[in-house]
């Protein structure tokens, strides 16, 4: 049967995947909170970030620290472009127009990547300092696992402080609650929304890097299902709640890995289905998610 070591090992794998979902969910939940937009284009940033790091880290061999800053900057810039080009003009119109645009933008980037990098998956050979293996009596892991967990905790902590303590963070929460009143406080709505896109997209691009380094394979369409699952994490954790997005992400990662690890092997093909089954179960018990607030009726 399954040993304690096996359980620990799979839990760790689940936490690592959960961290990736959590970082994605953070960016999505902030944008959703402000614009009521399920930003499908968020998934495209994963793909873009993954290929960006592939070229600078794997091909060009740029040092890790520089890569981290470059990929964050690249993602942020793409987020800004996306906001200004695709979304800004649509604000104030029907929410569904934004949704379709984000889906369209995702599709555009996916096809663009298919054309540029070819439909073949790429092997992401991370530098050896990221793939060094450690063995203890219970656990086997690589540097990248520690890196993902450490970086995620650090980012989530910074993000939490940002939302709670800074002027911009308070403004974001104010806009999420009442855009009109926020504007008469003198808050420049467009600027705050851009910041939300920049932060979310920078994180998404960064997770693209982590994904590539962890799983060793990237492809032009890798962002879609990952992006959708990140949104599931948002909903499971409670839409609009920043701690909820983190909790939802980790729960989802754990559930995905543990269900494949402990269910009979023929279930493992259905791990994506299991993720959505969890979504439905959670919503049946708690319609507003684990840490969600009930949406007030807007007049």
């Amino acid at each position: 049967m399954f040993s304690l070591g096996y359980l620990l090992q799979q839990t760790m794998n689940g936490v690592v995947l959960g961290c990736i979902y959590a970082l994605l969910a953070l960016g999505m939940t902030v944008v959703y909170g402000i614009l009521r937009l399920i930003n499908f284009a968020h998934g495209a940033l994963i793909t873009l970030g993954a290929f960006f790091t592939y070229f600078i880290l794997v091909r060009l061999g740029i040092p890790l620290v520089a890569t981290i800053f470059l990929v964050l900057g690249f993602g942020g810039l793409m987020g800004l472009v996306l906001d200004i080009v695709a979304y800004r003009k649509l604000r104030g119109g029907p929410e569904v127009a934004l949704l379709i645009t984000s889906l369209g933008f995702y599709t555009f980037i996916e096809n663009f990547m298919k054309m540029v990098v070819s439909p073949q998956p790429y092997a992401f050979k991370a530098p050896s300092y990221l793939t060094t293996i450690f063995r203890t009596s219970f656990l086997t892991f690589r540097t990248i696992d520690l890196f993902i967990i450490g970086a995620s905790i650090a980012i989530m902590w910074c993000f939490h402080l940002f939302i709670k303590k800074t002027k911009m963070g308070i403004a974001m929460r104010a806009i999420a609650e009442n855009l009109e009143v926020a504007s008469i406080m003198g808050i420049e709505i467009n600027r705050v929304i851009s910041v939300a896109f920049v932060l979310g997209s920078a994180l998404a691009a960064f997770t693209g890097f982590m994904w590539g380094a962890k799983y060793g394979q990237i492809s032009y369409d890798m962002g879609f299902l990952t992006g959708v699952k990140a949104f599931v994490a948002v909903v499971v954790g409670g839409v609009g709640s920043v701690p909820g997005a983190m909790v939802g992400g980790v729960i989802l990662g754990l559930a995905e890995i543990l269900s494949t690890a402990f269910l009979p092997t023929y279930f493992s093909e259905y791990r994506d289905g299991i993720v959505f089954a969890i979504l439905i179960l959670v919503l049946l018990v708690r319609p507003s998610g684990i840490m969600g607030v009930k949406e007030e009726v807007r007049v």
Binding site: A174, E177, N178, V181, S183, I184, M185, I187, E188, E296
Partner: protein
């Protein structure tokens, strides 16, 4: 200080305000009275820049502000305390107050103003860490007013400040409004309940279905029998 000329505001094709002319002089309290749906809130929102005029002009300190965004108007010294208070329910009391001063960069002065608000409303200080949605109605109104003052307004627009408050609180609120004026802030006050408003204000406009029907000095309007019957409930 504020002059509105031939203002028409429409929701779609339906005019909510039609050809309104209003003036607020510096240091005055001007009341805008009328029944529900008369267009009072619409006028305030247009002054603030949330709604756009279909026709007409709004002048503030001699300058047309028609094309200014709400944040620009806040910087010029206009503040709206919205109807139903419009506080941020999920933010703490102090965060709400802090947002009132969002456009200001003079940190030390903001801190001073915060303490001043806390001296005015000790209840807010006691509850500063509390989530604003958990305050009582009266406390929420105090918070909305305090937040408005945090922007250091020159002109404050009050939308139905007495709505839903117990009579005792309404009296307290109005003595407070009179105090704000003493500090040199000009006030444009919208009320459905006219009795209290008429006691403090200098000048009155009566609005009916988007049109200014009656205007005049408060005492004169107050003493007109026809006005009392039609607008002030006898």
């Amino acid at each position: 200080m504020l002059k509105i000329e031939n203002l028409t505001v429409k929701y779609g094709v339906i005019p909510a305000v039609h050809n309104a002319n209003l003036e607020v002089r510096e240091g005055q309290i001007v009341a805008l009275l009328g029944a529900n749906g008369a267009g009072k809130t619409t006028i305030l929102k247009t002054i603030m820049g949330i709604l756009k005029p279909a026709e007409g002009n709004i002048y503030y300190q001699g300058e047309s502000i028609n094309f200014f965004s709400p944040p620009q108007r806040v910087k010029m010294g206009i503040t709206l305390v919205p109807e139903g208070r419009g506080i941020f329910n999920r933010l703490s009391v102090e965060e709400n107050l802090f947002l009132g001063a969002y456009h200001r960069s003079d940190k030390e002065e903001v801190e001073k103003d915060l303490n001043r608000i806390y001296t005015l409303f000790p209840r807010l200080q006691e509850r500063k860490e509390q989530i604003a949605g958990t305050l009582s109605g009266g406390e929420q109104q105090m918070l909305a007013l305090g937040r408005g003052l945090m922007s250091r307004p020159l002109l404050i627009l009050l939308d139905e400040p007495s709505l839903g408050l117990a009579p005792l609180l309404v009296r307290e609120l109005y003595s407070f409004i009179a105090n704000i004026r003493k500090e040199g802030v000009t006030i444009l006050l919208v009320e459905q309940n006219a009795t209290m408003a008429l006691k403090v204000c200098d000048y009155v406009y009566l609005l009916e279905t988007g049109v200014v029907k009656v205007q005049g000095i408060a005492e004169e309007v107050w003493s007109r029998e026809d006005v009392k019957k039609v607008y002030l409930g006898g």
